[in-house]
Amino acid sequence: MSKKLLLEIVTPDRKVLSQDVDYVGAPGALGEFGVLPNHIPFLSALGIGNLYYKDAGKTHYVFVSGGFAEVSPDKVTILAEAAEMATDIDLERARKAQERAQQRLARAQDKIDHARAQAALRRSLARLTCRNSGDKAGTC
């Protein structure tokens, strides 16, 4: 595969990644989608989950939450509120966040609290799976 895609991931705080890759898989709001070079222009909201990209035969994982993906034939831009490379994920912190979210979920009375705790739980779980996938793929 000679042609490559430029993958850019930016958050309000920093540019997380800017790299040429072979393939990008992203957690779209309506389900996962994959992008190869020469994809048709495409704009999608992203859910909370794991994005992965393949480069030189290796799969790398990135956690994203609250973002958008803009796909053009030679470029994928991800705008996310939070994004972390699998290598940068703090497992301990994610586990603690998971416990906290579960406790809050059990206690939450009204709808808003419940929804918030659920979102927090999903984020922490996604972080954990992201790290685990990264470990399995040997890119952490």
């Binding site: 930016v10 309000p12 709001a29």
Partner: protein, 291 residues
């Protein structure tokens, strides 16, 4: 005339003050560099965001989202005032507060109720003194805020707007133009209007996109975030402006200390000379008398 000892203590005190102002100047310049680099890091995100919104708005029908709807009848206006938590930065906070209160007075003259959202302690204090209602306040945050805070405040604003507590929202912040220039800016952020001031870079790249879920669905996700992005930018700018203002204020103070030390040293030497002359006169007078 002041006594020698008095002058000496005064010189000592001023020298100490100078050390403090000099240290504060250096701290402020370090923090300013930090704040500027945060603005730099935020730029790619903002740029991309506006591009995306521009593309979307070009292909979308307006009035598809409640955040875009202008209200015919306005009753309340929310003013978000972003200031610093600490003083000692010249007229920076004063200018911001003046701009916000002037705006509030104008709105009040139009028969609107004004409610404040305050970020930063200085603004909160002034608004409270002026006896406007403060709905939400964040104190001691300007040192260590991130997007989460802007997101929280933005959500708060959106909720109030949607449940009709507010009909209009204006953001007042200190725009960072250069080291020597920071200007208070008032920007209407809600309802979102197509030709919003402050986002001149909105332009469509002219590409035809496939949208997922749908244009309306994406706008519903993007527009609330747009508010948060603007609030965040306001906070970043204010933070950089604050440090720049403090830097120049402290620079001036250090220079004033130098001037004062010079003047006082001169006074000290004059006083000392006068004392010596007086003593000599005494001695000469005494020896004359003994003859």
């Amino acid at each position: 005339m002041a006594s020698l000892r008095d002058v000496k203590t005064k010189i000592g005190a001023i020298k100490k003050t100078k050390q403090i102002t000099k240290a504060m100047n250096m701290v402020a310049s370090a923090k300013l560099r930090n704040a500027q680099s945060r603005i730099e890091r935020f730029k790619p995100y903002a740029q991309k965001f506006f591009e995306m919104l521009g593309d979307l708005a070009a292909g979308a029908d307006e009035s598809v989202h409640p955040l875009l709807a202008k209200r015919e009848e306005k009753k309340t206006v929310g003013i978000v005032l972003v200031t610093s938590d600490r003083g000692l930065c010249g007229s920076f906070n004063v200018n911001l507060i003046k701009a916000a209160l002037k705006l509030a007075a104008e709105k009040k003259a139009q028969g609107l109720t004004v409610k404040f959202y305050c970020v930063g302690k200085k603004g909160r204090d002034a608004v409270r003194k002026a006896e406007y209602e403060i709905l939400v306040q964040y104190r001691d945050v300007m040192n260590s805020f991130d997007f989460t805070l802007a997101s929280k405040l933005g959500q708060e604003l959106i909720n109030s707007f949607l449940d009709n507590t507010l009909d209009e929202v204006v953001l007042v912040y200190g725009e960072f133009i250069s080291l020597g220039r920071q200007v208070p800016v008032a920007q209407n952020i809600l309802p979102i209007s197509g030709d919003q001031a402050g986002i001149p870079e909105v332009q469509s790249s002219g590409k035809e996109y496939i949208y997922e879920p749908s244009v309306e669905g994406l706008l519903a996700e993007l527009l609330p975030r747009f508010i948060k992005v603007q609030v965040y930018r306001g906070m970043l700018d204010t933070s950089a402006s604050e440090h720049a203002a403090r830097m120049s204020a402290m620079n001036n103070a250090t220079r004033a200390c130098d001037d004062m030390t010079n003047a006082l040293t001169l006074l000290y030497n004059k006083t000392r000379q006068a004392a010596i002359t007086r003593d000599l006169m005494d001695i000469v007078g005494a020896t004359e008398a003994l003859k």
